[in-house]
């Protein structure tokens, strides 16, 4: 009796296991399918956006070559350079903002602390696009909306609001024991030394996390760049470039190149992301363990 019961329980478990694995496999296929498709398309030999077969008929790397050599209409290498420059600068600026603001909010108690945090929360609720036009007018008034200064304008845009996104870094600093700070204060450290010599070295995971998210931002943002660049094709970032390739006048000849560009942009981001994932988990779980 007991044996049959055990046997049936075992069988039930096996069935459950198979079902779960089959469901997972189906879901995984659904999730991987679009990515596989774009990689295939990027190597597709025949041109045009819509084809009647699912798998490509011939394979070629001409799409990648064209992306970097045909710079007359859509200058992909230049866009890539623009984005890289903007990403690096805004990454440095916003990392500084985020870390310093979150250190202050986490460690120091000053008059403006609560008001600042409330303000950050309220500002976060406004749709970012609402003030986009006004941001454009302000940048125009400062003379940053023409020529090479567009890059500076974009850098300011991406890093400007960074000080409002302090939550994760602050949460991390909160987990560093206050006793360390107190010990250092008694030993005659200034706050600045505590910040640079103790807090920062202890918070490597969250620094990496902040740096990488700030770096990825300009690569994936599309709408700010579009509003600020307007028709200045020289200063387009990668995101607008890829979007333009799918517009009606370009889609037929540029479609496979779009796929190639998408793959090229995704590779560094995917690599950074995989790298980041480890730190992301660490960053959430706190600094000093045990």
């Amino acid at each position: 009796m007991a044996a049959t019961k055990q046997k049936s329980a075992k069988r039930k478990r096996a069935i459950n296991n198979t079902i779960v694995h089959i469901v997972l496999a189906i879901l995984a296929v659904i999730w991987v399918f679009p990515i596989a498709w774009v990689v295939l398309t990027s190597f597709r030999a025949e041109k045009g956006s819509y084809v009647s077969t699912f798998l490509p008929q011939g394979y070629t790397i001409a799409n990648y070559v064209r992306l970097f050599t045909d710079t007359t209409i859509l200058n992909f290498p230049k866009m890539f350079g623009n984005t890289l420059l903007i990403a690096i600068c805004s990454c440095i600026l916003s990392t500084f903002y985020v870390l310093s603001v979150s250190y202050c909010l986490s460690r120091l108690r000053f008059k403006m602390r609560k008001p600042y945090m409330n303000m950050a929360m309220i500002l976060g609720l406004f749709p970012g696009f609402m003030c986009m036009v006004a941001v454009y007018f302000i940048l125009k008034a400062l003379g940053l909306s023409e020529g090479g200064l567009i890059r500076l304008a974009l850098i300011l845009c991406y890093s400007g609001g960074a000080g409002l996104g302090f939550q994760i870094a602050k949460g991390f600093f909160d987990t560093i024991p206050l006793a360390i700070d107190e010990a250092a204060l008694i030993d005659g450290c200034t706050r600045w030394q505590i910040f640079t010599k103790m807090t920062l070295p202890l918070s490597k995971p969250v620094i990496v996390y902040t740096v990488l998210t700030a770096f990825i931002g300009p690569w994936v943002d599309f709408i700010f760049a579009k509003v600020i660049c307007r028709a200045n094709a020289d200063y387009y970032t990668v995101a607008i470039g890829l979007w333009r390739m799918l517009e009606k006048e370009y889609i037929d000849s540029w479609y496979t190149c779009f796929a190639a560009g998408a793959v090229l942009v995704s590779i560094p981001i995917a690599a950074l992301f995989m790298f980041l994932q480890r730190y992301y988990v660490d960053g959430m779980s706190g600094a000093v363990k045990g």
Binding site: F126, V133, A134, A262
Partner: protein
């Protein structure tokens, strides 16, 4: 602006001079400028560290916002072919928008309803689906956990605008999905599923695609929380004879909700303001009512974008922005202030 700044500077100078005088009278030591500078690195370090980012936040976030809020009370917009010189009109714009008999008003209500439906479904389908997926992967008996996780995380490593554009082209009438279905013989050779051409289909499509985009993120975030649920709880429940559904609804779900309320609120807010998905996928199409400015999948934010950037109705756009904010603020502030993580913020 500049005047205000100068007045502030002057006031601060007088204040510090007065303080120095007081200190002097009391026979105490008056600090030199050098020491003041030094204090910036110690007791006044927050002034040093917060100022640069505050300046930028003020210039690039607060100031534009004030501009736009002011604009909501003017008639600054494109009428006919030119921008009119603007004048204060009070609450006129709000009245037009709430008046459901005008075109703008009726569009506003339909867009608002769809925005709320979208935000609700987008948040909770993602949350539940992500949780179920995380549980399936983290089950004790599931083999090759790392591999499964990798499959899903792969799609969130691709920048979202890329995957959204890919999705859009795949779901076109002649896109990959329809081609695949035709080749498989599931639909007729010249037929195509109306993913973005039928209003209802379009709405369902964006929600489903949002699941595709969002679940991997939810999976990443919830995996850690799931692993933190004490195992004894499950064992005790199993000994007491609870089945899978009971365990899920009585242990997992309450525990998760308890931990992730702030995260849920943030996601909900993010979804109300989710511009990318709608703009890149459907662009608000299909347009059912030609006289209105919004399509049937337009959210408040994408409509706002269309009104301000394409049509240059700055005043109406600003009003919509303010209303979006009010809706979000009322909901979020109430829930957030009552949540555990806000109350226990100063815990240590």
């Amino acid at each position: 602006m500049l005047t205000l700044f100068m007045i502030y500077l002057w006031r601060e100078t007088v204040k510090s001079a007065y303080q120095a005088e007081c200190l002097d009278k009391a026979g105490k030591y008056v600090r030199t400028f050098r020491e003041d500078l030094k204090s910036l690195f110690h007791e006044n370090i927050h002034k040093l560290l917060m100022t640069p980012s505050l300046v930028f936040i003020f210039g690039l976030t607060v100031l534009p916002l004030v501009f736009m809020i002011c604009m909501a009370f003017t008639n600054y917009s494109k009428i006919g072919n030119h921008l009119v010189l603007f004048d204060w009109v009070g609450l006129e714009n709000f009245r037009t928008l709430f008046d459901s008999s005008s075109i703008l008003g009726s569009t506003f209500w339909s867009v608002l309803v769809w925005t709320l439906i979208w935000a609700f479904f987008a948040t909770f389908t993602n949350y539940i689906a992500g949780m179920i997926l995380a549980m399936m992967i983290n089950r004790k008996d599931t083999k090759a956990k790392g591999f499964w996780r990798f499959c899903f995380v792969l799609s969130c490593a691709v920048p979202s605008f890329v995957s959204l554009l890919i999705m859009r082209t795949m779901l076109q009438p002649n896109g990959a999905v329809n081609v695949l279905l035709r080749n498989l013989g599931w639909i007729a050779a010249d037929a195509s599923l109306p993913f973005f051409t039928d209003p209802l289909w379009a709405k369902v499509t964006v929600i489903v695609i949002n699941i595709w985009v969002g679940v991997p993120y939810t999976l990443l975030q919830l995996t850690g929380v799931l692993q933190n649920i004490p195992g004894e709880l499950y064992e005790a429940a199993r000994v007491d004879g609870a089945n899978v559904i009971q365990i899920f609804s009585k242990i997992t779900l309450p525990y998760m909700l308890y931990i992730t309320t702030p995260y849920l609120i943030a996601t909900f807010t993010g979804n109300v303001n989710n511009f990318n998905i709608i703009y890149l996928l459907s662009g608000g199409d299909p347009v059912t009512n030609l006289s209105s400015t919004a399509g049937s999948t337009d959210l408040l934010v994408t409509w706002l974008y269309k009104l301000t950037i394409d049509k240059q109705y700055y005043n109406v756009g600003a009003v919509i922005g303010i209303l979006t904010f009010v809706i979000l603020a009322v909901g979020a502030l109430l829930t957030y202030r009552n949540s555990k993580s806000y109350k226990e913020e100063g815990g240590f």
